[in-house]
């Protein structure tokens, strides 16, 4: 029933956006300070249907749209104290929350294993979530290491690699220059790269 009351209010609000913003700000403050459910119902009544239309357009699916509305409006309830009237209007704050949730939802749907989430990008709902799962990073190879290993290659392999990767010659040019068959250049290159790779792996 509360929902019905909120809807009546909307109709007078839409013509006066500024007054509406002031009114919604006051409701948000009441939610933050007193957990006022009546105030929250007004905010919900105004924004939830609009967010659903926005979400339907963005997600193209009723169930996902409703999930986006629910997550967004939950944040509005649970984190109302983070709304700062000096930083912008309630609608801007609520849009940015919805945008963030959509960003994360889309990545989850696409099964992307990216360690970037909307809270980092748009810190509207700043809170640090402790994530202890640090992944150890493999040792990195440096140019100096490659240079040292390079010197350990047999002379014949080294001269081929040098000509190709440093002088930028083609394998045919190297074959002509060293007066050896192209096949030999190819096999020396392959052996040398394999050897470097093995040495790099041993190095770890």
């Amino acid at each position: 029933m509360l929902v019905g009351i909120a809807l009546e209010n909307n109709k007078s609000n839409t013509s006066k956006p500024k007054e509406c913003a002031n009114e919604m700000s006051q409701y948000l403050v009441a939610v933050a300070s007193e957990r006022c459910k009546r105030s929250y119902a007004k905010i919900f009544g105004y924004f939830a249907p609009r967010l659903r239309s926005y979400a339907l357009k963005q997600m193209g699916n009723e169930a996902l749209a409703m999930e986006l509305v629910q997550d967004t409006m939950s944040n509005v309830w649970q984190k109302a104290h983070l709304f700062n009237v000096e930083k912008g209007s309630p609608s801007t704050w609520i849009f940015t929350i919805a945008r963030n949730i959509r960003f994360d939802m889309l990545r989850k749907l696409q099964n992307r294993k990216e360690d970037i989430c909307s809270d980092d990008l748009w810190p509207i709902l700043c809170e640090t979530t402790a994530d202890q799962n640090e992944i150890p990073l493999d040792e990195q190879v440096t140019l100096e290491q490659v240079g040292q290993l390079f010197n350990h290659l047999p002379d014949k392999q080294r001269s081929v690699i040098e000509a190709i990767y440093i002088d930028g010659k083609s394998q045919q040019e190297v074959a002509d220059q060293l007066s050896i068959p192209l096949g030999t250049v190819k096999s020396r290159t392959r052996l040398a790269l394999q050897r470097l790779k093995d040495m790099l792996e041993d190095h770890d």
């Binding site: 929902v3 249907p49 939950s74 984190k79 801007t92 963030n100 992307r112 809170e127 640090e134 140019l143």
Partner: protein, 220 residues
């Protein structure tokens, strides 16, 4: 002074959330350092929020909404803790990083010497790309290279040049296969940058070419 900014289009896509994660991270970090771009993003946010407000409100007759409202107001409030501000450390020097990058300071591995006076520390951002903090000491130079994919760079602290232009703290750069450059710093205090590449670099000159068959090892 910041001279290199994301384009208006990139800022709008960022505000909309229609942008790759890697690009979003570097744009976000730039905006944290650049009030000019932050204002532009704020303006787009207001505009997009207005679009939502202008949607003709549907009837609230759907019982799903009443159920949702009851579920939400049954939830507890969430307290937020003030975030600690982690810094990047290198040889006893501590660097502030823009807010969007702070969580990743914990995901940053050890510094290793890339070559002479250039150091890099890998930053784990999952499959969004290969990210590094790179520090060029005064006189340090990254070998000339081009890019198979995109290289996004934010100057976190200091100044550097790359043969194409001079960059200052806060500058935002996007490099692709049309750019060949060799970043180097002649700044007294060196230069710290944050960089994300989606494909390994392709080194174009000298001994550094030797790295090409192994360049994936730099970015694993």
């Amino acid at each position: 002074m910041i001279n290199f900014h994301p384009t208006d289009k990139q800022l709008r896509q960022f505000a909309e959330g229609n942008i790759s994660s890697a690009m979003a991270l570097v744009v976000a970090a730039h905006c944290d350092m650049c009030s000019h771009c932050q204002e532009k993003v704020d303006e787009v946010n207001v505009e997009l929020a207005q679009d939502i407000e202008n949607i003709a409100a549907h009837e609230m007759t759907d019982p799903a909404f009443e159920k949702m409202l009851a579920e939400i107001t049954a939830k507890p409030m969430i307290d937020t803790r003030p975030a600690i501000v982690p810094k990047i450390e290198l040889d006893g020097r501590f660097f502030d990083v823009p807010r969007p990058l702070r969580r990743y300071v914990r995901n940053t591995g050890n510094w290793s010497k890339l070559l002479g006076k250039v150091w890099q520390a890998p930053v784990d951002i999952g499959e969004a790309g290969a990210a590094h903090f790179i520090f060029m000491e005064n006189g340090g130079q990254v070998p000339e290279h081009t890019h198979r994919g995109n290289e996004l760079t934010l100057v976190v602290n200091g100044e550097f040049s790359d043969g194409l232009a001079d960059y200052d703290t806060g500058d935002f750069l996007v490099m692709d296969n049309e750019h060949i450059h060799s970043p180097h710093s002649n700044n007294k205090d060196g230069c710290l940058v944050f960089s994300i590449v989606d494909e390994p670099l392709h080194f174009t000159s000298g001994l550094a070419r030797l790295l090409n068959p192994f360049s994936h090892l730099f970015f694993k």
